[in-house]
Symmetry: D2
Subunit: 97 residues, 4 copies
């Protein structure tokens, strides 16, 4: 499985490492990481813009996160949470069924 | 600073929230998050490919991280680390200067 | 500010590092980290026990997190979230005031 | 497996939740979390103290992390890293064997 020691392929090696191959992998990863960083900055910018228009960015993040969840599952989780909070006296109890 | 309650602009509002504006922000963020996820997957794929060619991906990550650092700073940090490790007997001591 | 090179104190030094002092710091940190690890395991065990009694651990974590927040702030955040979700059609709209 | 609806045990329930049991779990977790927070602060304090004596805390963290690793494994990882860095021209090349 080792890709080292391929002097036979004409690839220059250092201590048996295919130098160009290593360099190519590193550069591909760095390029992708750079693109990712740009996107992360873009996302931050959009939140900044939304904030400038009066939206609450913490709540926006929560909305984004909720939209990834299945709606039925989310409703069910909310229902269980309410039950726990009521049992702990952390919210006004709904009427007993 | 609040962007709410702009019935005057013709924007449909719900409880004073500019519905279309909110939706636009959410959709922009979700699109960017989707692109980011694709890049994260791409990066994972390149590491996978490198691993398939015999490279050690943990070390590759270390190399990527070291390349982001200033070389002089890196050398200096390594030197301090060596001194600490020698003081703790964790590496063979170099000759005393 | 440097505490190195204190040969005058009788402390054995390696490359100017006070060996015993370094060792003492390392050992104190490792002992505390060990205690922390034990607590992290204990917490995991309690969640496991709660799960065994039929509680939903994900919701328990949410409850713990909510209890750290100020109740008024929490209620306000919930209200804003609801408004956003309604604007996006993600929950049945409450009656317009 | 559900521990709810145990009216028969005399435990007060809210919507079928054993209120005291829930409260007990929450309190045990909160107490452990509190102890954990104290330890995290203690660890931070020790690093602060070490820094005050002239030690480099970033390097101390690295030392702690290295001590958790197996020494042979660590040496081997360092050797592979060196080979990669040499192949990339990031360190002066050792003599070719």
């Amino acid at each position: 499985m080792e890709a080292f020691g391929r002097k036979e392929t004409g690839e220059e090696t250092v201590h048996g490492i295919a130098r160009n191959q290593l360099r190519a992998f590193i550069e591909r990863i760095e390029r992708l990481e750079e693109e990712k960083k740009t996107l992360v900055d873009d996302i931050k910018d959009v939140y900044g813009e939304a904030k400038g228009m009066g939206f609450d960015t913490k709540i926006l993040r929560k909305v984004i996160s909720l939209r990834k969840q299945d709606q039925d599952e989310r409703m069910e989780q909310e229902a269980i949470l309410d039950t726990y909070l009521q049992a702990l006296g952390m919210v006004p109890a709904a009427e007993e069924a």
